[in-house]
């Protein structure tokens, strides 16, 4: 998992939490040791052999929790071992000695850790994990994390869309985990609890919540169905004599602990039938919802967009594929393409061209350079692109058909990410006097001059008449653009897709015409006029 996703730090922290919880709730056993200790040793060794992680597997404080649990596990086992060996009094003393020395060692280690982490600006934690613990961290300090839509916190409808009735059954599942609390149900409980918290911080972690929610919902429904079906099997008239068991293990434990376990009576047949029927209806409802969500939301690739026309038909916007295939067939195979990083992987795969930045956000500076170019005036941007050896630049534009997630709406993030590395870019220059983001004539001067604005709205004023009947009317921002006659000197329009969603520009090798060179004709005319 370390190889595929940085989310492994969730697992590497969840397992120690479970281990610690087991130790402190008196569930220490050889099984726990066999399950946990090797995973820390081998897991750390294997993780360290992944190039991007390397020694971070030991140095990053994300992994410290695992080592702490490893130590505590050994200490706890040692205590239980000497408990068996020594008489009671000696055991108490030995335990105190061990705990005190352990506490001192831990204090020393903690001081070292604090000294180590305070020397790094993010306290040794990566920004992504810090933003889970302090949810406002990312939105304050790391624009590259806060800008990504999957890193946004979900509002409540997200839960109902994604996990539907499971969100209603989650609390019931948690309660079922407590009746009784076993090693396994403790794990499920901790897994559910941490993932439900983290999914609240970032919507992408709904992926981590989903399996936990399925298990918890399953536990809730299964314990309910087992009560109902047992009631159906029991004779309606006869009250159950012996304490019949809703969950086997609970009875085991209950009988061990005390003899006065509450009597379990069967639910009347009619009510039980109704209950079973309603659970069935609920599950059918859930399946219908899941099919619908998979069909309408998860299966719609964001690369091909579709809308429903009024008569119920489908209208497909295939601009992305159109533009990528144009790039593939009409440009030199070794040409380099620059765009905002969101489209990097797509362009690499579908256009088969080298891109300057892609969705790998490991190197922030590179993305900031492209952000800086997009936010700079044309000439400066051209110089930056020249230095990056870029041949084509493309921008995504939705103002023609009303596609809201286009580059102009992402532009402030380009400014912020660019400004994070290159302080010459100031966000306030791109806003109007009141500090709001707009594209009409009241927009900030830097906004109107930026390359992104120019490439987006080049020749747009005339084209928009065809769609809206109004010159330069942007259907996403619902405003008339501030600069109608955009002229390009260093870039040349190469391709614009059917619905204007993708606009590809060629970066010229030299500017359009060198305006500093004098016109010989004009010079003569001037001489003539002075002679006269």
């Amino acid at each position: 998992m370390v190889m595929s996703w940085g989310g492994y730090s969730f697992i590497i922290n969840l397992l120690p939490i479970h281990c610690l919880a087991s130790v402190f709730t008196g569930r220490l056993s050889a099984r726990l040791y066999v399950a946990y200790a090797p995973i820390i040793v081998f897991g750390t060794l294997l993780a360290a052999s992944i190039p991007v992680v390397g020694f971070n597997a030991i140095l990053m404080s994300e992994h410290f929790g695992a080592f702490l649990a490893f130590g505590v596990l050994h200490a706890a086992l040692l205590i239980s071992w000497i408990h068996k060996m020594l008489p009671d009094r000696a055991y108490q003393m030995a335990k105190m000695l061990l705990l005190t020395s352990g506490a001192i060692a831990l204090g020393g280690a903690l001081l070292l850790v604090i000294a180590y982490v305070t020397t790094s600006p993010t306290f040794g934690w990566t920004g992504r994990s810090l933003s889970l613990l302090d949810p406002t961290y990312a939105s304050k300090y790391i624009p590259i994390i806060a800008s990504v839509s999957e890193h946004q916190p979900p509002a409540w409808p997200s839960y109902f869309t994604d996990i539907h009735i499971l969100v209603l059954l989650l609390p019931a599942g948690f309660i079922a985990c407590f009746r009784p609390l076993t090693d396994a149900s403790l794990f499920l409980l901790l897994y559910g609890l941490t993932s439900v918290y983290f999914s609240g911080v970032m919507v992408r972690l709904m992926l981590v919540l989903a399996p936990a929610a399925c298990c918890l919902g399953g536990v809730a429904l299964s314990s309910m169905l087992s009560v109902l079906s047992r009631s159906l099997h029991s004779d309606d008239e006869e009250e159950a004599e012996a304490p019949s068991t809703p969950v086997k293990k609970s009875a085991k434990r209950a009988s061990k602990k005390s003899t006065e376990a509450p009597k379990q009576h069967p639910v009347p047949h009619d009510a039980a039938w109704l209950g079973v029927f309603l659970v069935f209806v609920l599950l059918v409802f859930y399946s219908l919802h899941s099919v619908w969500v998979s069909a309408e939301m998860y299966s719609a690739p964001s690369i091909v967009l579709q809308t429903r026309t009024r008569d119920g038909g489908l209208h497909v916007f295939d601009d992305f594929r159109e533009a990528y295939s144009w790039l593939r067939h009409n440009t030199e195979p070794d040409s380099k393409v620059a765009s905002w990083w969101d489209y990097g992987y797509q362009a690499t795969a579908m256009a088969n061209r080298t891109v300057i930045v892609d969705n790998n956000t490991w190197n922030n500076t590179h993305i900031a350079t492209v952000g800086r170019a997009m936010s700079s005036p044309e000439k400066k941007a051209w110089k930056i692109y020249q230095s990056l050896d870029v041949d084509y630049v493309f921008v995504i534009f939705g103002g023609y058909i009303g596609y809201p997630s286009d580059d102009i709406n992402k532009f402030l993030w380009m400014v912020r990410i660019g400004g994070g590395v290159f302080p010459e870019i100031q966000e306030k220059d791109y806003l109007d006097a009141a500090g709001s983001y707009r594209i009409d004539s009241g927009a900030g001067q830097a906004m109107l001059d930026s390359l992104m604005y120019q490439l987006t709205y080049y020749r747009f004023a005339d084209a928009s008449v065809m769609v809206t009947g109004q010159r330069g009317y942007d259907r996403v921002r619902n405003a008339v653009i501030g600069k109608m006659d955009v002229k390009l000197k260093y870039f040349e329009e190469a391709f614009t897709s059917e619905h204007w969603m993708v606009r590809i520009y060629k970066v010229k090798k030299a500017p359009n015409r060198d305006f500093r060179r004098r016109n010989p004709q004009r010079r003569k005319a001037a001489k003539k006029s002075t002679a006269n």
Binding site: P135, T161, V167, L168, A172, Y197, G200, M224, V267, L431
Partner: protein, 347 residues
């Protein structure tokens, strides 16, 4: 014995000199008197911000020329708690800037060149009107040469007022306020001192003591029976679950208000649109989820405990009813909010 009057003479002369000087400074230089008065007020205030009442404003701010700059922050007591304005934080930052100025320039050559002051809306309504202050935050600088009359509008130049454009990060930190003041008055401060427990030299010791005390308390607690009661952990778990599924984090990160007052005096609790929410609606939904779960738990664990058969039947039907109504309400809210309706492909 004549030495006694002679000895007293220098003392008397000195007294005379002091009195003369005091008179001179009192009568001859009203500016110095004003500065002294303001310095006194500045010293007596808790953080170096002088609270200006209309009388003080008339006394110290209205004239054609003053030997000092005044930096005002306008506040309103009834808006202090409004979350979107963040006036409380701004006032604290303003106080930090003021105390930094007081600390570095409270005495010495630069003493009495800049004063920080605040005015409250209800108390100084008339001055607010004269300033044309119809919105907050409003921090402005009154230059020494800026004439302020006893009545009539006070047109503070645009450049002398802090704006969101020049200082986009709001609430403006004390550093930004100090930067603004330094740009206007030419008098800067080196560093704004924020009192923090981390900077104290005892922090390390304190942390260690807390750590060991905490460990001791935890050790004691560990052996107490009530700590192991599952109900505590159960309620904690349910609280986290309730908070997360209500979108509580969304409320914190996006700083959304609990509810929106509408222009017609009503309050809007539910906000349409599937990617937005108000604080209240999330918690309503979270509570509905808990209600549904409670009903199912009652069916599973509660009902079989009842002795009487009819009691069990009634309880089961009630729980089913509650669960059904809750689920219906949840689905209705969801459909209203998102506009999604399930398309049934089979039926």
């Amino acid at each position: 014995m004549a030495s006694a009057p002679v000895r007293r003479l220098p003392a008397a002369l000195a007294l005379l000199l002091v009195a003369a000087l005091a008179c001179a400074s009192g009568d001859g230089d009203p500016d110095a008197e004003e500065v002294a008065g303001l310095l006194r007020l500045q010293r007596s205030s808790s953080d170096g911000v002088i609270h200006f009442s209309p009388t003080l404003f008339a006394k110290y701010a209205t004239s054609a020329r003053r030997p000092y700059s005044l930096v005002f922050m306008l506040t309103a007591r009834h808006l202090m708690d409004k979350p979107s304005l963040k006036l409380k934080q701004l006032r604290a930052e303003f106080g930090l800037a003021a105390s930094a100025y007081r600390g570095q320039h409270g005495a010495g050559d630069a003493a009495g060149r800049v004063f920080f002051a605040e005015m409250e809306f209800r108390e100084s309504k008339e001055i607010f009107e004269r300033l044309g202050a119809d919105s907050l935050p409003f921090i402005f600088h009154v230059a020494p040469g800026f004439a302020v009359g006893r009545s009539g509008p006070i047109g503070v130049p645009e450049g002398d007022r802090m704006s969101m454009k020049d200082h986009p990060k709001y609430p403006w930190p004390a550093e930004a306020i100090a930067e603004f003041v330094a740009a206007k008055t030419g008098l800067g401060v080196d560093e704004i001192e924020r009192r923090s427990i981390l900077q104290s030299p005892f922090f390390g010791i304190l942390a260690l003591v807390t750590l060991f005390a905490g460990a001791g308390v935890a050790y004691r607690l560990y052996y107490m029976s009530w700590v192991r009661h599952p109900l505590i952990y159960l309620s904690g778990t349910l609280a986290v679950c309730w908070f997360a599924t209500s979108g509580g984090m969304f409320n914190i990160i996006r700083n959304v208000p609990f509810a929106l007052p509408k222009p017609d005096g009503k309050v809007e609790y539910f906000y349409p649109g599937h990617s937005q929410q108000l604080g209240a609606e999330g918690f309503v939904m979270g509570t509905l989820y808990l209600l549904f779960a409670g009903a199912t738990v009652a069916m599973t664990y509660g009902v079989p405990m009842l002795e009487s058969k009819n009691g069990r039947r009634a309880a089961f039907y009630t729980a089913v009813m509650v669960a059904f109504l809750t689920l219906r309400q949840v689905v209705q809210n969801y459909q209203w909010k998102t506009g999604y309706h399930i398309r049934q492909y089979v039926f």
